[in-house]
């Protein structure tokens, strides 16, 4: 039992000092019938590292590793190359094993990191202020809708049909309990976004419009008209970014008038990890900061006049305000925020722009080559590193057929919108800097086969 410092001798002498006859004595408040008298059913005894490695290694071996095959999946999680120094830094015990920075004297490292992270996020998203992270993009999206309700005191949110269907699901779940009304729709395989529908739907009950940018089909569109229309009606624009690398090339939602910009930060520093942990980005206008959920690190001056950092505006939070808090979130995504911040520091503006350009150029190349396959059409007009194809066959079986040839060839809309026949032939393909020339050649050849 390598993790336990006490020896049996230690235990006996401690019991003696406490004055207890046995360990059982200390559990005397637990009713007899709730005490387990034997080991947990079926769980083997403690195991060596080697044995644990073998058991978990055997499971890991059952999975097809993204990095081992031509890989083109996106739809809310992107495979980017993370520099080795990022992983090194987040493994430093002082970051990895630190507690929540409630005691600023012993947490200046974490606090300064969060402070820097917030500024990076705010600048990236084009906003004035950002928080210290949320769980992920989908929960941040829902929190934004709730925040818009609190700000506007209106209960109807209009969701773009380009919003990630999982994000829509999460919002629907929450709305069911909070009583918010959600106006939702499924996308169509069309180059144009549903901006017109959104604008037309705004009414006096509308708290916010929620758009994703780039959207689930990879489409990008100027958000200014929607922002203007929303603002004219006293509503807010919430923008959702699931691929923050895009903002190294295309305008930030905040620059186009979005009032709250949330995002999934996984692309930068975090990695795929089968969906989590990820890191939710949350930014808004300074005037709304008191309605913002989550933690916020701020600068202050310590007793000696030195600059220092603290968690600030805590009166928004559950540990002070309890049932009146802006959110129940407590533990957020600290370490992923650190990873994001380190990777972003390594990139800087120069690196991020180059990274975004490479992603875009690769994606354009792949889009051109795949849409030259007979029967395959490119749906998008504009896009960043992800686009949608209309195949001449159903995309879901096509994806499985590609797996047979050791290619992870995209996300089928059939997987995301099961039962929606109008989307069944849609295949969403993401192309990042990690895609090699050979990967593209293989994808093209395999898609040509399965698209027959």
């Amino acid at each position: 039992m390598r993790y336990l410092p006490l020896s049996d001798a230690d235990r006996s002498s401690m019991l003696a000092i406490i004055g207890a006859a046995s360990i059982d004595d200390l559990f005397r408040d637990v009713p007899e019938e709730a005490r387990l008298d034997g080991p947990v059913h079926g769980l083997p005894l403690h195991a060596s590292e080697l044995s644990v490695e073998r058991q978990l290694g055997a499971m890991a071996m059952q999975n097809m590793v993204a990095g081992h095959v031509p890989f083109f999946l996106g739809c809310g999680a992107y495979r980017h190359h993370v520099p080795a120094s990022v992983d090194h830094i987040i493994q430093r015990g002082e970051f990895l094993t630190a507690y929540t920075p409630y005691q600023p004297e012993i947490a200046q490292g974490t606090l300064q990191v969060l402070f820097e992270f917030q500024t990076q996020v705010a600048r990236l998203l084009g906003c004035e202020v950002a928080n210290a992270s949320m769980y992920d993009g989908s929960t941040a999206c829902w929190e934004a809708i709730g925040m818009a309700r609190r700000i506007t005191r209106r209960g109807k949110a209009i969701l773009s049909d380009g919003l990630h269907p999982h994000y829509v699901s999460v919002a629907k779940t929450m709305a069911r309990f909070t009583g918010d009304t959600l106006d939702t729709a499924s996308p169509t395989l069309d180059a144009a976004t549903d901006a017109d529908r959104l604008i037309a739907s705004i009414d006096q009950d509308t708290s916010c419009i929620v758009v994703q940018y780039p959207d689930i089909l990879g489409r990008i569109d100027d958000l200014t008209p929607i922002a203007d229309a929303a603002h004219a009606a006293g509503a807010l624009l919430v923008a959702v970014v699931t691929e923050p690398v895009a903002l190294g090339l295309i305008k930030a939602p905040g620059e186009m008038g979005a009032d709250i910009v949330v995002g999934e930060g996984q692309s930068i520093g975090v990695g795929l990890q089968f969906g989590g942990p990820y890191v939710g980005l949350f930014a808004t206008r300074e005037k709304y900061v008191r309605q913002m959920p989550g933690r916020l690190a701020g600068e202050t001056i310590d007793a000696e006049g030195k600059r220092g950092f603290v968690l600030t505006l805590s009166t928004r939070e559950q540990h002070i305000r309890r049932e009146k808090a802006t959110s129940n979130i407590c533990t957020n995504s600290g370490l992923c925020a650190l990873a994001f911040s380190v990777h972003m520091t390594l990139l800087g503006e120069k690196g991020l722009r180059t990274l975004a350009q490479i992603n875009h150029a690769r994606a354009v190349e792949v889009a051109n080559r795949l849409s030259a396959i007979p029967g395959v059409e490119l749906v998008n007009d504009a896009f960043f590193n992800e686009f949608t194809l209309r195949l001449p066959v159903e995309a879901r079986p096509a994806v499985h057929a590609m797996v047979e040839k050791n290619v992870l060839g995209g996300v089928s809309l059939g997987r995301l919108y099961p039962g929606d026949a109008s989307l069944a032939n849609g295949l969403v393909i993401a192309v990042t800097e990690t895609v090699s020339d050979n990967d593209i050649n293989v994808l093209e050849a395999v898609l040509r086969e399965v698209a027959q």
């Binding site: 999975n63 120094s85 002082e94 989908s138 990008i220 030195k306 309890r322 991020l352």
Partner: protein
């Protein structure tokens, strides 16, 4: 506990003390202050190289970004900036954390290694199911042990942290009540509860009322019984509680709550103190979140990421959130919106994109397998032993208000 090695110790350098360069060994030179990234970085510096690649025509329309203004640093500067910052933190790796309601425990590096196996770290949440059978197996295996350890009926794996788990539990309760057409409006929460409890109940649309505590720091059963009625949806109890005490009348509380048609939510943040010794399922609990970042050694990371699976009673299981993993003959499959109904789920819906904190599941399972049945039980015993030892040792020095209430479980006030 850390007696010097009795067998004696002897320096291997016999003449060492004859060395006469008497410098100061204190590490004063190692106290570093660190400027802000924005003070040292610049827009044209970068710590990432790319292989040159010709860019073709753009497909972004007129959306080109003009201002961005993100400072960059070269790689050595970046490593230094963060290494120096890290040294301004205290952490488990540096010493004990005798902390409040959070169990802060050793984070084994084996867990980190396991979570970084490419077969777990480098797979996409939307990969076709046949390509991620091992990932589903991992989730299912961890779920199995969480159920066994708690004696509950099922577990919802997707909640992202403890508070998110609370929400999952309370939403399950509300969904179950709604399913039987029973609209109730109040959730009772003890005053000593963690702030997430009332915040969660309020978020789920409930009014929050206090449960009174006895002088010994426990739930006042009589007062609770008096308050129960057709308007009470649930009671949220922290057990072992925030004062470090086990609620000896937990079963009676549960029975009273159930008798009144309400459900019992247990805040399991302190589960560490009873894991392997007590099964919450035997205490009549309907839902309890487990902080993998407390009880199962996944790192706290300066405030996350956490992971908050919620174990559920049979009554609540049909309402568990989507998606979930199911084992069938041919392997594992993910139950999502598409097939939930066929599977007999009345799920209240999805709480989060994808499947929850996979990276934390790997670590938690690595920890559970490492400790095994004997080790986990010992964890609870040692944690209770340590807490009582500290309590008794401090009794003479400090005022320990609940010292005579009974043994404390994992922490002491």
């Amino acid at each position: 506990m850390t007696d010097p090695n009795q067998s004696g110790w002897k320096p291997t350098a016999p003449n060492a003390s004859a060395y006469d360069a008497r410098t100061t060994t204190g590490n004063r030179a190692l106290m570093l202050e660190e400027p802000l990234l924005f003070e040292i970085g610049s827009r044209d510096r970068t710590g990432v190289d790319f292989d040159d690649r010709a860019t073709g025509p753009s497909r972004i329309g007129d959306l080109a970004r003009i201002t961005l203004d993100l400072p960059g640093l070269s790689e050595p500067e970046t490593v230094r900036h963060y290494t120096r910052l890290s040294r301004q933190n205290y952490a488990i790796d540096l010493g004990l954390f005798p902390l409040g309601s959070c169990t802060m425990k050793h984070n084994p590096r084996l867990n980190e290694k396991m979570a970084r196996l490419p077969g777990f770290a480098d797979i996409h949440p939307l990969q076709p199911q046949e390509t991620v059978q091992g990932a589903y197996q991992l989730i299912d295996t961890l779920a199995h042990w969480l159920i066994e350890l708690t004696g509950m009926h099922s577990v919802a794996m997707s909640p992202k942290a403890g508070a998110h788990g609370e929400l999952c539990g309370i939403l399950s309760i509300r969904a179950a009540l709604e399913a039987r057409g029973d609209a109730r409006s109040v959730v009772l929460v003890p005053e000593s509860a963690h702030g997430t409890n009332p915040a969660t109940a309020a978020f789920a649309g409930y009014q929050v009322e206090n449960i009174p505590a006895t002088n010994e720091g426990r739930v006042d059963l009589a007062a609770l019984k008096a308050r129960l009625g057709p308007d009470v949806a649930a009671v949220m109890i922290t057990n072992p509680n925030t004062c470090g005490l086990f609620e000896p009348e937990m079963k009676a509380i549960s029975d009273a709550v159930h008798a009144a048609g309400a459900l019992v939510y247990c805040d399991g943040a302190n589960f560490n103190a009873i894991v392997g010794r007590v099964r919450p399922g035997d205490l009549g609990i309907d839902a309890m979140h487990i902080n993998l970042h407390k009880t199962f050694s996944t790192p706290h990371g300066g405030g996350g990421p956490g992971s908050g699976p919620v174990v559920l009673s049979e009554a609540l299981s049909p309402y568990a959130p989507l998606p979930y993993v199911e084992r069938n003959d041919g392997g594992y499959r993910l139950v999502e919106e598409e097939t939930a109904h066929e599977q007999g789920s009345d799920s209240f819906g999805r709480m989060v994109a994808f499947h929850g904190q996979m990276g934390m599941f790997t670590r938690a399972l690595s920890y559970i397998l490492s400790h095994g049945a004997d080790g986990l039980r010992q964890v609870a015993e040692d944690s209770v032993l340590n807490a009582n030892y500290v309590l008794r040792s401090l009794e003479d020095v400090l005022d320990a208000p609940f010292a005579f209430s009974g043994p404390c479980m994992h922490e002491a006030i």
